[in-house]
Symmetry: C2
């Protein structure tokens, strides 16, 4: 399947988790087969886009039959790398880092948080969910004995770049970035995915603004 997935566009990649979620829901509802029309209805997409997306990861459908829900769900799960578990460390024990530590869904989806670090001595030793906050100074020692696939970057903007560079130097090559900065690791083969919460809220503000203008005109 890799010859297919090598060429996936960003747009397809960002839709795959949605397909996965809807297929999992259907599986729970006891649905065994699904058409591209029904899957498109749930996804808010056209049936032809659904067929195109699923063809791009290797098919899975049969003319006049549709898709087998479990087979397709597992196929998409494989493409997303959800068929094996991932380990995470959380850098920053503030509001966002603590929320990630406590969020039950990640563990259920195979993402295990190993440890949590902060530079603030007042936070070190605190319990957050099942974790005890460790000093950021312990990060190097920790990573000599445990392998973390993903670093969750939940530090303030001013500390983000330095902290990210530090954890990358220590061998973690994927950063889930909640800090409101752009990280530039192009040369270092580091994978970064951003969750810019303020920017999401600003998009909502824009849409509200447009609606009010529309209502007033």
């Amino acid at each position: 399947m890799s010859e297919h997935t090598d060429r996936l566009s960003d747009a397809v990649v960002h839709r795959l988790p949605g397909y996965y979620r809807h297929l999992r829901e259907m599986e729970r509802e006891g649905i065994r087969q699904v058409s591209s029309t029904e899957l498109g209805r749930r996804m808010g997409q056209t049936p032809s886009l659904v067929r195109q997306d699923l063809n791009s990861i290797g098919g899975f459908g049969r003319q006049g039959y549709g898709y087998d829900v479990t087979v397709l769900k597992n196929g998409i799960g494989n493409v997303l790398g959800l068929n094996h578990s991932h380990t995470m460390i959380i850098l920053g024990a503030g509001s966002i880092g603590s929320a990630v530590a406590r969020y039950p869904n990640f563990l259920a989806e195979g993402f295990t948080t190993l440890a949590m670090f902060d530079t603030d001595p007042a936070k070190v030793g605190n319990r957050v969910g099942d974790l005890t906050v460790q000093s950021m100074e312990q990060l190097g020692v920790f990573l000599t004995s445990r392998k973390a696939d993903i670093a969750v970057l939940a530090v303030p903007a001013y500390a983000a770049k330095e902290t990210a560079e530090q954890v990358v130097k220590l061998g973690v090559h994927a950063v889930w970035n909640f800090a409101p900065v752009d990280l530039d690791f192009e040369k270092d083969d580091v994978t970064v995915v951003n969750v810019h919460l303020s920017e999401s809220l600003q998009v909502l503000s824009y849409l509200l603004e447009q609606k009010e203008k529309g209502a007033g005109s």
Copy 2:
């Protein structure tokens, strides 16, 4: 400017908060003018895309001079509706709702959280940041006396649809949705922006997977 902004594509709208953030940083650094080349470098975009984006919201640039940082920042802020403040209520006092309540950046950016609600009697009365968790049963009474622009939906998936419908019925017409469900309010003139954290993590997992395949081949 509204005749321009009516036609903004999704892609442009999603880039505007990034421009705004970079321009604010430049302003803090004391930079007064910026070229499309430098703005593109910071945004990770081509200069021609930058010019195209900024033309689409009404220009702001001058040939051979570039952009005035403060004028452009304020112009984009106006388009995003950041020139006035917004009020929010948080539905769900779990890990995500609490993180939103405690996140200092939102307040600094003009988004004020008025109140926080939960159905769980064990959580009602708890302090979260500056707020006291109120019973979800109080939501209707609360909204007769205070106007909330945005409802932050931070309840579990199974409660998301019903809670969203309830708050929309009570007159809140924008939902910032953290629940892993798709809300369908097309008919009701409700604005929804999703933050699907698990899906963002799954995109990261996909990218890691691709990198490992690439390294192995």
